[in-house]
Structures are given as C-alpha cells and as structure tokens.
C-alpha cells in the first residue's frame, strides 16, 4: 500500500512538474521581450539615362536650350513683344452727314390736285474723317457698325424721303431706307441699322477715296392745301465701326512696342559664379512676324546691356552703322496678300557688332525699346490691314555652347533635422550609397557636402578624398565633340561612428564646381543634343536592433 502511495505521489509530482513546465512555456507574461534583429539589405534606388534632348524637351516651354543651325546646342535668352493693337493705330471714327431739302428745290407748277406729286433728287457725299490726315482709304468691310438716320418734315403735304448709300452694300445690295410723313409734317427716324458685314467702297466719288455718295430723293404728295412751304432735314450718323479689313493708303503711322528686358540668368544668378568662360560665337537675333499689309520700318530707340562690370553698354550703336537704330531703320517684310504673316529676321554676331564685348562683360540683362513706322516711301494705295494685324518681334541673345567654362561653382545651404539618429534604438548601423555615373558630357565636376552644427561648425563631410569628389569629363576630339563616356563609381559609406557625428547636424552645405574638358588650357568643346549621362544609385544598409521590444516600440 505504501509503495503504491509512493508511486502515486511520484506520478503526481511528475505530472505537476510537467504541466507547470508546459504552462510556463505558454505564459507570455514570462517573455523577457528581448529581441535582436540583425539584417543587411541592398537594393537599387534609382537609375537614369538622360540625354540632353530630354533636357531640351523639358526646357522647351521656356526655350532656354535649342539646337542651333550648326547642330549643337545653344543657350538662348529671349523675349517676344508685340506692337500696339492695329485698331489703336488704324481705326474708324464715327462719321456724320446731314442735309436739308427745301421748298424752292421743287417745281410746284403741276402740283394742285390730289394725286399730284413733285420730287427732288440729289446726291450728297459723306466724307470720312480718318485716323490719320494722310490716310486715303479705298474700301473696307465692317466687322461691326451702326447707322442712325433721323429726319424731320415741316411740309403741309404728305411726303416720302428715300435715302440710299449706293457704295455701302451687303451681298451686292446697297443700303437704303424710306421715311414717310403725314400732311403737316413730323419726325421719322431709322435707328440702330446693323452694318455688320457691310462693304464700303470709298472710291465712288470724284475724290476717289475717303468718301461715299448718299442719294436723297424727296417726293411730296398734294394734300389739299396750297401751302407748299416747308423743309425735310436728315442727319446720318455712322458709329461704333470696327473693320474686318481695310484697304487704301494709311499714311505714316508709328507703332510702339512694349519696352522689355531679357534676363541673362547665366550671369545674373546668385546661386553660382563663373571664374572664366568663352563663348566662341555669341549672337544677337531679332525675328519679326508682320501681318500688316503695309511697308514698315523697324528700329530700336534703346538697346542696352547691363553688366556689373561695365554698367550699361549699347549693344548695337550707330557707330557700327548697323541697320537698326532710328537713323538706319530696318525695312521689315510685310504681307502682300490678306492673311499672310511675313517672317523676317536680323542677325548680328561678333563680326558685325560689339556682341562679343557685351557677352564678355557678363551682361545680367538686356533692355530695349522699339518702334516701327509705316509707309516710309509715302503714298501707296496697296496698304491693307485686318482686324488682328500685328507686328511681333522676338529678341534673342543666343550663346551657342561652343567654348569653355572654367570654375563654375555653386554653393548652398539647407537646414536639416537628423535628430532621429540620436535615438538609442536607431536601427541603422551602416549605410553605403553606391553611385555609378557614366558621363557623356565634356564637363568635369567636383562635389562636396558638409554637415555642420547650428553654428556652422563642420561635423563631417560627405567625401574624404579628392578622387571621391571628382567626376571626370568625357574626352573630346579636336572639334570639341565627345568621343566616349567617362565612368565613375563612388561608394559613400556611413558607419555607426560616422552617423553619430551627424546627430547634432543642423545644416547641410553643399558645394559643386564644374569645368568643361581641359578648360584650364583653353580647350573648347561643343555640347551636342545627343550627349547623355547615365547613372545608377543603390544602397546597402545594415540594420541592428537589440533590446526590449516595448522600449523599442516606444522609441519610435
């Protein structure tokens, strides 16, 4: 019995022990929550294969880069200005003509019974007052226009007034209107006659321009009285007229262009400095688009480049005898048929101007005022304008990228917050960034990034060696064209110790310097649109977390 009890006791103890052990294993309150994680990852981040054409596409909207006539790339700064609107120079005034038909104008000999009538007919001329005393207009088509005619009769007889404008037609039908009066007279008006689309021929009078004939016919109907005295007066007003097209001779008019400024950001930016440079073939270009059908001359009143070094410089002065100052205006192509928009251009370079000196003076902006005059040769009845005729001018400073730039450097500072690195459980123990660049541009670059504290005291720099900083330029042939890519693989490694240095970093100062290939020796290069740069960026990161899982969770 005792033995059985002993076995039972042992078995019980064993069972309790086993179940206690099992229970402990699944009692998560007993978990010490200590975790350790140690992993290393590598991954690509980004890649690119950027051709200069991509940059051109990107900058198409601003037109900063273009492929020039020689096939390589130019940097161009431009502005486009327009002349006054055509209807500010060549416009239609309100026109008026009036007259009176009086009793003596009639022969009343057979005018004594009902059904007897007498008529008087004559032609008057409406002379147009013009925008310019010299203007001699032949014809026009109205886009809009209103005609008001007011009449009054004082005759005792009933009467009918017929007014006709034989040279004001629409679809070949002249404009006319009839007024009738009851015995004793009175007023009769025809207001707001819409002249939209009417064709006005101003050559149907002896003057042969600026006039239209007005035919007046007044008929009196005997109305049982012997009183034949009286008058009929009329007053014609043409107003609010806008033309669709106008032909003739417009006289000498002056078209003013908005004053404008071209910023040369290459020399104006405060973000960078250039120690030395050479542009082999700088150019100054003016393009004109003229839809006036009027011989015109264009010239600058004012064309000045401003540089910090030399102040204001006249780009094209009279001394150079270039056809662009007030004394030597430029005859601009003009439209010969309606709807034509004629392009004309004027290009100057270092051979025929002082543009070379101007560019070397690092101009920050170019300012100009321009105007154009019409009909410099005098009377010519072949002028025409339409309602949106305009002269537009594009002024371009073109810097073909043929030459060299030496020590183009830029520097900037950015505020950063790397306080997360101070976290006790910051899992990042090492970071390696790998940058693989294949440079197809004839430009070498040096870069550096400094990490500073709040007092700009340098804590660390991104690169430690000269080699790390350098990105070699692609080699070029004798003409300045790139032969092959240069390749550079840079690995920037940040280990725990180095990361700790950045814990108090408040500012990042980054600086870069660039030169064209062998610029120090004056080698000139050309930038072609198919130049490209390829890059591949990847990283390695070592992560390590060790500690209590609750503390780690709270730390983040």
């Amino acid at each position: 019995m005792k033995t059985k009890l002993k076995y039972l006791l042992i078995a019980s103890i064993l069972m309790v022990s086993v179940f206690s052990c099992v229970k402990d294993n699944f009692n998560f309150d007993k978990w010490d929550k200590e975790v350790q994680y140690d992993a290393s990852f590598a991954a690509p981040v980004a890649w690119g294969d950027l051709a200069f054409t991509d940059a051109l596409r990107m900058y198409d909207s601003t037109g900063l880069f273009i492929v020039n006539e020689e096939g390589y790339v130019s940097l161009q700064y431009l502005t486009r200005v327009s002349s006054n609107k055509v209807n500010e120079i060549i416009y239609l005034n309100n026109q008026n003509v009036n007259g009176t038909v009086e009793s003596p104008d009639f022969n009343f000999a057979q005018f004594s019974a009902f059904n007897d009538t007498v008529s008087f007919f004559y032609t008057d001329f409406l002379t147009f007052s013009m925008f310019n005393a010299e203007a001699e207009i032949d014809s026009l088509i109205l886009k809009t226009g209103i005609m008001d005619i007011a009449t009054n009769s004082t005759f005792s007889h009933s009467a009918r007034l017929y007014v006709k404008f034989p040279s004001v037609t629409k679809n070949g039908v002249p404009f006319s209107t009839i007024f009738t009066y009851t015995p004793g007279g009175g007023s009769s008006v025809s207001l707001n006659n819409d002249f939209t689309g009417y064709n006005i021929d101003l050559t149907q009078t002896p003057t042969n321009f600026n006039e239209i004939p007005v035919e007046i016919r007044l008929t009196l109907f005997w109305s049982g009285t012997t009183d034949n005295s009286g008058t009929v007066s009329f007053d014609v007003n043409m107003k609010d007229m806008q033309y669709k097209i106008m032909h003739g001779y417009f006289g000498e008019n002056t078209l003013f262009f908005e004053s404008d400024t071209i910023d040369i950001s290459l020399f104006k930016s405060n973000d960078w400095e250039i120690e030395r440079y050479l542009f082999m073939d700088p150019k100054f270009k003016i393009y004109y688009w003229n839809s006036y059908g009027v011989p015109s001359q264009f010239y600058f009143d004012h064309l000045v480049a401003h540089s910090v070094l030399q102040g204001d410089m006249n780009i094209l002065d009279d001394a150079n005898n270039l056809p662009i100052g007030p004394a030597n205006p430029y005859d601009v192509n003009y439209a010969l048929v309606v709807g034509q928009r004629m392009l004309d251009s004027l290009k100057v370079n270092k051979e025929n101007s002082n543009i070379d000196d101007v560019v070397n003076a690092r101009p920050q902006w170019i300012q100009f005022k321009a105007r154009a005059t019409t009909n410099p040769a005098g009377l010519d009845h072949h002028n025409f304008v339409i309602d949106d005729s305009q002269i537009e001018v594009e002024v371009i400073m073109e810097l073909p990228l043929w030459g060299y730039i030496y020590n183009w450097n830029l520097k900037d500072t950015a505020k950063v917050d790397l306080s997360d690195l101070q976290n006790e459980y910051n899992p990042i123990k090492r970071v390696l960034v790998r940058v693989d660049i294949q440079n197809g541009f004839p430009i070498e670059a040096f870069g550096q990034v400094y990490f500073t504290d709040e007092n700009y005291v340098i804590l660390d720099s991104l690169f430690y060696t000269y080699e790390e900083r350098l990105l070699d330029a692609a080699k070029v042939d004798a003409s300045g064209k790139v032969l092959d890519f240069s390749r550079k693989i840079t690995k920037i490694e940040y280990v725990d110790e180095r990361l700790k240095k950045l814990e108090t970093c408040k500012y990042v100062v980054y600086a870069a310097q660039a030169n064209t290939t062998n610029a120090v020796a004056g080698t000139v290069i050309k930038i072609f649109k198919d130049y490209r740069v390829k890059f591949d960026v990847g990283f390695e990161v070592d992560l390590e977390v060790e500690g209590n899982i609750d503390s780690i969770s709270n730390a983040f």
Binding site: N25, E34, V35, A42, L50, S61, D436, E540
Partner: protein, 482 residues
C-alpha cells in the same frame, strides 16, 4: 558493412525529414478498430458487422468520430520561444538563431481534419465489405527557408555569395472534399488477404499553389534585382474573384459580388456540390509469413479530383530586372506622378497573372505503408511500420515501432514509438474498449507531443465510437506463447 551503415543513416535521416498529413502509425495495427481499414483495406477486423459515424444516433456523437493531424517538418514552438538559462531561467526568450538553425529547405505546416459521417462494414463468408462517407479537410502552408533568410538576415548575405533567394517552395493549399468509399477484403488463400477501396470524391473547395520558380537575385555589382517567376495559383471556390479587376493596373482583387450573394442566399449548395468529381483507390495486402509473423503493405489515397466549380487558374511567368525608379526630367508634379504610376504598374504587370478559367486536377497526397507484426505472445505483438508519403514533390517518411496487446476480448492497448516529422520523440498510444456492442477508441501517434506541445512537430488524435456485432476472436497460432 560501412555501406550498410551509410544506408541506414540515410534512411534514418530521410525518416526524420518528414511532415505528414493523414497518418495512422498507431492505428495501423489496431485491428479491432474498423478505421484501421482506412489505411490498410486488407486488415481483418474481428467483427461481423459494424457501424459508426456522426450520422449514427447517440453512438455517433459520443464522442464524435474525428481525426486531426498537424505536422511540421522543421520546427516546434520551443525553437522560437523557450525558457532561458542562467538568470533567464524563469523567462521565455525569443531565439531566432535557433529557429533559423532548425528550418529546413522548405517548411511544411500541414493540417488534416476528418469527420466520419458514416462507416458501415459487414462480413460475408470470405469477404468483408465496407462503405464509408467522410468529410475531409486538408490545408497547410509551405514556406521556403529563403523567405525567413530574406526577412531575418536581409538579402546581402546571399548577394555576397552570388546566389539567389529561392522562394519556389512557397505554397498554400486548402482542400475540402467528401469521400464515399466502398471497399472489400478477402482471403486469397490461407496466408494472403487482399483488400481495396474505391472512392468517389466530391470536391467542395480548393485553393492550391504551384510555384515552380519564384526567385530573387541581387546583383552584387549594382544591387539590381532580378525577379523570376513561374507560378500558378488554382482555386475552385463558391465565391470567386472578379477577373475584371485583373485587367486594370491595380494591385488587388475583389470578390465577385454575384457569387457572394448566391452563396449567402443558399449556403447549402456548397455542401451539395457534385460538380467536382474525383476518384481514388486504396489497396492493401496482408501476408502471413510464418505463424508468428505477418507482413502488411498498403497504398492509400491514390487519386485525384477534377475541379470544375468556378475554376480559376492564375498563372504568372516572367523575369523582371529591377533597377530602381527610373529618373526622368519631369516638368511638373503630374509628369512625375505619372512616371511613378508607370513604375508601379510595370512592377505589378510583371507579377500580374493571366487568368484561365478552365478545370484543373489535384492529386491526393498518397501514402505507402509497409510493415510487419511479430506475435511474440498471444497478448504481446511487436510491430514495425514504414510510411512514405508523396507531398508537393517531396517524399515524406516515418518509421514506427510498436507494442500491441489485445489485453482482453474487450480492451486492446497499443504503444508506438515513431521517428517522424524530423524528430524522434513521438510516443504514440492507442486504446480501444468495447462494452457490449459499443466500441470506443482513442489514438494518438504522438502522445508525448500532447503532453509537451511546446516540443510538438506533430499533434495527432483520432477518436470515435462504433457499434459492433459478432466479435470473433482471432485464433492464436499453435506456436505462439500463451
């Protein structure tokens, strides 16, 4: 001799490298339990008639006839969390290095649940006929070692070795089917008994994957990543996915609303589905080698199911080199966002599967049993059983040694020791007890794992109750000790 030693070692290693689903390592030699015919149709059950299953009133529910098996060929709980040592002796500690050490090339975590609805058997002269209806659920997940390697160690160790992360073993599977089995066994002669079962299978639901290739190679020179895929996901479910969602560049699928509504309106249709028909076979044999030694062999679950209800086959095959985000000169935020979207679309399109809505077949995980029994004494039999199973292109093995005793005419007890699931700590236990016509049984292949679940790579339990009639004691051999 040395060769033999090596072969033995290989067998031993192979046996340890297994994780099986349906298994009956202890049940195999419990001839008083009619369910032993599930794993060898040739087993001679000593009753003239038996009936069991959930559909049998009262006896079918006390207890319900269920079978559950969990198997893991790599790790158990204590390989992740275990009691510490020294000053941590009273604490649970997380042990990732140990976990990693225990992981195999592919970790299979498998579950098998079976509910017997009806089981009927009758002895006719020289023949024993059975009919059984069983509801079966087989589900599990396979995780390749490299998934854990990538997650826990990162991709750099492999990158430095120049080898890819191989995720091709990854898999998810779930199968629910109903099995109607009709079987019979007969004595071919005095020594040989043959048996077989023909099964008609009614599939209810299936999801399974076949990842022939899924790998990630990180180039040590530029860290570019190459993803290679050759994978298929098959599904046949009452609620399926909308294929329209796959035609747009959007990550994610949505459930087909119509099928969802139909299922909600008539969930019974799921259980009455007869569209997914399959067939299977069990065959077995027992041979009386000597009066004391019996030999057994059986092949179980050789069959397939054809899935025809809402079949969806998602197929992805391709290779993609990932170099990071392509940087372009974006003019504005819209252009940049569009570029990012293109990048995401491109990445998705690599894995974007093609959808084929055609029927497909799945094969049952077939098992092979080979064993023998040595009747040392009328009340003491020693058994040995080898089991092999084909699963997801792997061959799982186990070896079981057993001691069996029909203690009385009503009670039999069985004790087994198995090398299985890559561990050698499986002590199984089986007990059958009969009271009048009611026969209960409870069996586990790994009793120790139920006591110490923290060390369990296999949890296995079968229990139930049968109504039996006509017990016929199997005659002892003349030479057998009494």
């Amino acid at each position: 001799m040395k060769m033999k030693k090596h072969i033995l070692l290989l067998i031993f290693a192979g046996v340890l490298a297994s994780a099986s689903a349906q298994q009956g390592l202890t049940l195999y030699n419990m001839d008083r339990v009619m369910q032993s015919q599930f794993i060898n149709p040739a087993i001679d059950v000593p009753y003239k008639f038996h009936i069991g299953g959930l559909l049998v009133p009262i006896a079918g529910q006390l207890p319900p006839p269920i079978y559950f098996n969990y198997g893991n060929n790599s790790f158990y709980y204590n390989h992740i969390l275990h009691m510490g040592k020294g000053d941590k002796a009273d604490n649970l500690v997380l042990d990732i290095p140990l976990f990693m050490k225990k992981l195999k090339k592919t970790t299979h975590m498998r579950f098998d649940t079976q509910i017997e609805l009806l089981n009927l058997g009758i002895k006719l002269e020289n023949m024993f006929l059975t009919v059984a209806i069983t509801e079966k659920f087989k589900y599990g997940m396979s995780l390749p070692y490299d998934i854990f390697e990538f997650t826990l160690n990162g991709n750099m160790p492999y990158m430095q070795e120049g080898k890819p992360h191989d995720f091709s073993g990854f898999g998810v599977n779930f199968t629910h089917y109903r099995e109607l089995a009709v079987g019979g066994s007969m004595q071919a002669n005095n020594d040989l008994t043959l048996g077989g079962r023909v099964k008609i299978l009614f599939g209810m639901a299936n999801v399974n994957t076949n990842f022939k290739e899924l790998s990630l190679y990180t180039d040590p020179d530029d860290y570019s990543m190459t993803f290679t895929t050759d994978m298929k996901v098959h599904s046949s479910l009452p609620i399926f996915f909308d294929m329209n969602m796959l035609e747009i560049d959007s990550v994610g699928l949505s459930l087909n609303e119509a099928s969802l509504t139909a299922f909600e309106d008539n969930p019974a249709s799921y259980f009455l589905n007869l569209k997914n028909i399959g067939m299977g076979f069990d065959i077995g044999a027992s041979y009386k080698l000597t009066p004391e030694i019996d030999l057994y062999a059986s092949l179980i679950d050789f069959g397939f199911i054809s899935w025809n209800t809402n079949p969806q086959n998602f197929i992805s095959k391709g290779q993609y080199d990932f170099h990071g985000l392509e940087v372009e000169l974006w003019e504005n935020d819209e252009e940049r966002d569009a570029s990012m979207q293109n990048f995401a679309d491109t990445l998705f399109n690599i894995f974007k599967p093609d959808l084929l809505e055609t029927s497909y077949l799945t094969w049952l995980p077939s098992s092979v049993y080979v064993g023998g029994k040595y009747k040392f004494h009328q009340l003491l039999h020693f058994t040995a059983l080898y089991r092999g199973e084909f699963y997801r292109k792997s061959y799982m093995q186990s070896l079981t040694l057993g001691v069996n005793s029909n203690l009385t005419e009503c009670i039999s007890a069985h004790l087994t020791y198995s090398l299985a699931h890559r561990t050698a700590n499986h002590i199984g236990f089986g007990l059958s007890a009969r009271l009048g016509p009611v026969s209960w049984y409870i069996i586990t292949d790994s009793f120790t794992n139920m006591i110490w679940p923290q060390k369990a790579t296999n949890i296995n339990l079968r229990m139930g109750c049968n109504i039996v009639f006509g017990y016929k004691k199997i005659k002892s051999s003349a030479s057998m000790r009494t």
